[in-house]
Each structure stands twice: as structure tokens, then as C-alpha cells.
Symmetry: C2
Subunit: 304 residues, 2 copies
């Protein structure tokens, strides 16, 4: 078994590298850190940036442990046990409507049954994903993004991309709108030996996903950050951010899990946009750039 | 039994009277109506105003019927049956941060078991409530509002106000913030003969609550609408509206019920504010008007 501390330390280093790459790209904003402790054990480093390219972004690291809350044990069908969970979570809301919102999460979870009579081996798994939410879908950028996701998957298993891409389509979905949150990406969970993946191979894959994040987003941000836009684009951005809020508060399991287990509210809700708007029954003109974007927000689009 | 159509017709009239009173108060905005049909049976009239005092407000009437969705039957511990539900739902977001947000819901629900062998009498109940969410808590206004709520309760049963006030405190609560949504009001549900209330008496009470809404809110709006404010107050309003979004999407059972039963999304989410903001870890100065407002956002404040 890889030591859980080794995994946590690697995630912490990933947070550092991503923050550095994003500060360089932004050219102005600097991350502010809040270190926090969890009552039940462990803690984290929440880092927030307010820059010129990234209007509001969070890059959080946490490594928590303790008794597995009963609610979670039930949901995960796990016995009474101690748990350890570590990961990096990112949401970036750019200032420009021409630059996409992005989200990444990579995480590791393990339990240790604390009855010596229980011969069960420890349960462990990796999970995570990256998904992109353009305010305006640009086909070239969507293809670039999905190609990067496919590349990182294919380096480990050619079966990963088709499965994890579909998983993202299903997960990042606003059922009440019949809309996907954005153009998806990859999503995976419970990667472990039951899927025929050794801990080492799963960790290698998650590392590769983590390292793919910064160059992929930096490329998209630099390519689009200086494009012109006006009031109409800012309004549409505020509406799309409203949808982002709806997904995160109504449907996102990570948000619910965090709030249900008395996680640090400000770290969990760093995913909220700086500003969002709601207009009653807003419908973009068919054929407009906004209307075209909406038509891409569906499951099953093959971008690569 | 009072005919369910009689109740629905009364609610429809209430919607008309409230819309008229709000238009008169606003002086500029006019309600726009969308009539809609529900696939499973029934429909409604969604009315939305964008005025000068009310920046974005919705006054919805609906009367729906059909097979009780399995999910709801389970949650309500009801047998397989047909249902009928009618009500009026209101959320008003004023333009000025000096004017409070208000919410009202009054509703009637009944089921009819459709197995002739089943001798069970039809299940019915009334529910509803009014609660106030000031961006800035003004003690005089809070007392006025709660006095109006107490008055309407006391006209029917002196036990109502203490119970329904506590119920509102418990219901309109953001657990993840340890904050109430606003200064509460009254909330009640499952008012029926099991509580020793005849259908006639319950309907009389709900009618009285419904008719209390417009004069109470019009008083508060007219009193505060011309008060001066600046950027700081608009920012605080946007933050408080963000909390309103969090409550409605994370905790509100009505919103979940509506979206789970494939209700009309735009009518359900008319409760969303026109604009909301999120700042990471925003904390008002202790002693500031914003800080004082926060200190009132707790359960158990006795306003009357």
C-alpha cells in the first residue's frame, strides 16, 4: 500500500504548482491562504484568488480523518470505521465571459476498520475529474479541451475516456433544465482494485489528471482573455453563472457531502461565482451565439 | 367537505387581489402572466413583475391534480391515490436594499384513494406561511411584521402564533451558516382535523393569512422605499440575496418537491433574486449595521 501521507503530500504539492501556474497566467492576482483545522481531525489550506483574468477562484487542499460519519458510512455501504480523505478541489470564475469556467477535483479516500477481529482489508479508492463550462461554446476550444482529456486517459487505459466522458455528461447535468452544466470532460470515482486497477496505477492516473489541469486551462485562458465583449456578453455570463449556482446547490454530491458533514462552508462554497443573475424565463434567440451555446449543452456530444 | 374547486377559486381571487395591491404600491410595474398546463393534470398562472419598487417578483397560482407521484406518496406516507393541490406562492425582491424581501405561500392538498374497497376518508390539509427577509433588520419594522402575524393567528387560536413562529424559525434556517434566512414569521403545515381543526376553520385561517399579506408588505415597502442608500448597501443586499439563493436551493422543501415532481422550473425558480453576489469569507464589521443585522438572524427572537 502507498502510505496515505504520501498521497496527501503529493496533492499538497499539486496545489502549490497549480496556484503558481495560475498566478503566472493571471499576471496580477495572488492567492490568499486560509489554513484551517477540522474538529474531528485533519484540516486544509483554502486558497482564493481575485485577479484580472480570474475574477474569483479557489484552489483548495484538504486532508481530513477521524470517525466516518454514520450518514456517509450508510451512503457508501461501509462498516463502522475510521476514514482518511485527501484531495484538491478547484473552481475558477474568469472575469471575461469569453473565458470558460473550469472545475477540477482529485481525491483519495480510505477506511480502516478498527475492530481487530475484522479481517477486512482497508477500503480505498481514487476519484476525480475535470469539466469545462464555457459561457460561449467555441468548437475549437471544446475539441482542444476534450482532446487533452482523452490524451491523459489514453496514456493509462484506452477504455477510460469513453467511460469517464459519459460519466461527466451524466454527472454535470441540470435535470430541472434538461441542460448539461457545460461541455463536460471526465469524471470518475471508486477507482480501485475491484476495477482491476492497482493502487499504484490509479495514483499514477490521478497524478497525470492533476498535472494536465494547469496547462490546459492556461492555454484556454490566454487564447481568449483579450477578446472583446460588451454588456450583452456580461449579462449572458451572469445567467450562465446562475446555472452554475443551481447545479452546485441542487445537484452536486460533493457540495451536499461537505455541508452534511459540517465541512468548512466558506471552502465548500468558494465554487459560487462572484455575481450571478436570474431573469424570469430568459430564452436566447435561436441562432444567436447564446442560442448556439445552449444547443451544445446536451449529453453525448462527441468532441474528439 | 368544502369543494376543492371552491378553495382553488378563492386562491385564484387572492392572486388577483395581491397583484392589484402590489401594482398600486409599485406605481410603475405591471404583472405579466404566463398560463401553463401540467402534463399530468391541471395548471397555473405565473405572474411576474419588474417594477420600480419591486425589482423582480413572482405571484403564482396553481391547481394541479392527477396520480400522486410515488416519491411524494412515500415521503407523505400516503397510499396509492389521486391528489389535488392548489395554492398561491409569492417571492418579492425589492430594488432597494432598505426594503425587505418577502415570501408567502398558502396551499391546500387533498387525496382521494381510488380503490372503492378502501373505506379510508380522503386526506386533506392546509399549509402555508409568511416570512420576512430584511437586508437590514429594523427593529420597529420587525415588531410591526410579527405583530401582524400574531394578530392574524390570534383571531383564530391563541396557540397558533407561538407554535407557527417557532416553526418558521426552524424552517427558514441555513444550517450550513447557522443563520436564519431573515426574521422569520409564521409557518404551518398539515392543518386538519387530526389537529382538531375543521376544514372550514382551517380554510378561514388560511384566507385570513392570505389577506394579511398585501397590506403588511405594502406598509413596509412604502415606509422604506425612498430611504437613501449607496454602493455599500447594494453590495450587502447582493450578499443577502446570495444567502436567499442558498436557502432556496439547498434547504427549501417546496423547491425540491417542485423540481422532483417535474414542476414548471421557471415558476419554481421565480424565487431567485435578479442578482446575487458571493465574496469569499465576507464578514461585516462587528457593530456595523450589517453586523447588527447578522446578530438578529438567529432562532428564538421574541419580537412581540
Amino acid at each position: 500500500m502507498i502510505q496515505k501521507e504520501t498521497i496527501a503530500t503529493w496533492f499538497q504539492g499539486l496545489q502549490d504548482r497549480i496556484c503558481q501556474a495560475l498566478e503566472e497566467m493571471d499576471g496580477k492576482g495572488k492567492f490568499q491562504e486560509d489554513a484551517w483545522q477540522r474538529d474531528g481531525g485533519g484540516g486544509g489550506r483554502s486558497r482564493v484568488i481575485e485577479g484580472q483574468v480570474i475574477e474569483k477562484g479557489g484552489v483548495n487542499f484538504s486532508a481530513v480523518h477521524g470517525r466516518l460519519p454514520e450518514k456517509i458510512a450508510e451512503a457508501l455501504k461501509l462498516p463502522e470505521s475510521d476514514f482518511f480523505a485527501t484531495g484538491v478541489s478547484i473552481v475558477l470564475h474568469p472575469a471575461s465571459p469569453m473565458v470558460p469556467i473550469i472545475h477540477m477535483n482529485v481525491r483519495y479516500f480510505e477506511t480502516q476498520t478498527n475492530k481487530p477481529s475484522n479481517s477486512q482489508t482497508p477500503v480505498w479508492w481514487f476519484g476525480g475529474g475535470i469539466d469545462l463550462t464555457p459561457h460561449y461554446v467555441v468548437e475549437e476550444d471544446a475539441r482542444f479541451f476534450h482532446q487533452k482529456m482523452k490524451d491523459v486517459c489514453d496514456r493509462h487505459d484506452p477504455a477510460f475516456y469513453p467511460e469517464f466522458k459519459r460519466w461527466a455528461d451524466d454527472y454535470f447535468f441540470l435535470k430541472h433544465r434538461n441542460e448539461t452544466r457545460g461541455i463536460g470532460g471526465i469524471f470518475f470515482d471508486h477507482l480501485n482494485e475491484k476495477r482491476g486497477i492497482s493502487q499504484e496505477k490509479a495514483f499514477d492516473f490521478v497524478k497525470d489528471v492533476g498535472e494536465t489541469f494547469a496547462p490546459t486551462y492556461v492555454h484556454l485562458a490566454l487564447k481568449n482573455k483579450d477578446l472583446a465583449f460588451g454588456e450583452a456578453e456580461k449579462k449572458w455570463q451572469a445567467i450562465r453563472r446562475g446555472r452554475y449556482v443551481e447545479f452546485n446547490l441542487l445537484w452536486d454530491k460533493g457540495t451536499k457531502f461537505g455541508l452534511d458533514t459540517d465541512g468548512r462552508t466558506e471552502s465548500i462554497l468558494m465554487s459560487m461565482p462572484p455575481l450571478a443573475q436570474w431573469f424570469y424565463n430568459h430564452k436566447p434567440e435561436p441562432g444567436s451565439r447564446e442560442g448556439q451555446t445552449l444547443s451544445w449543452l446536451r449529453k453525448g456530444v462527441d468532441w474528439v
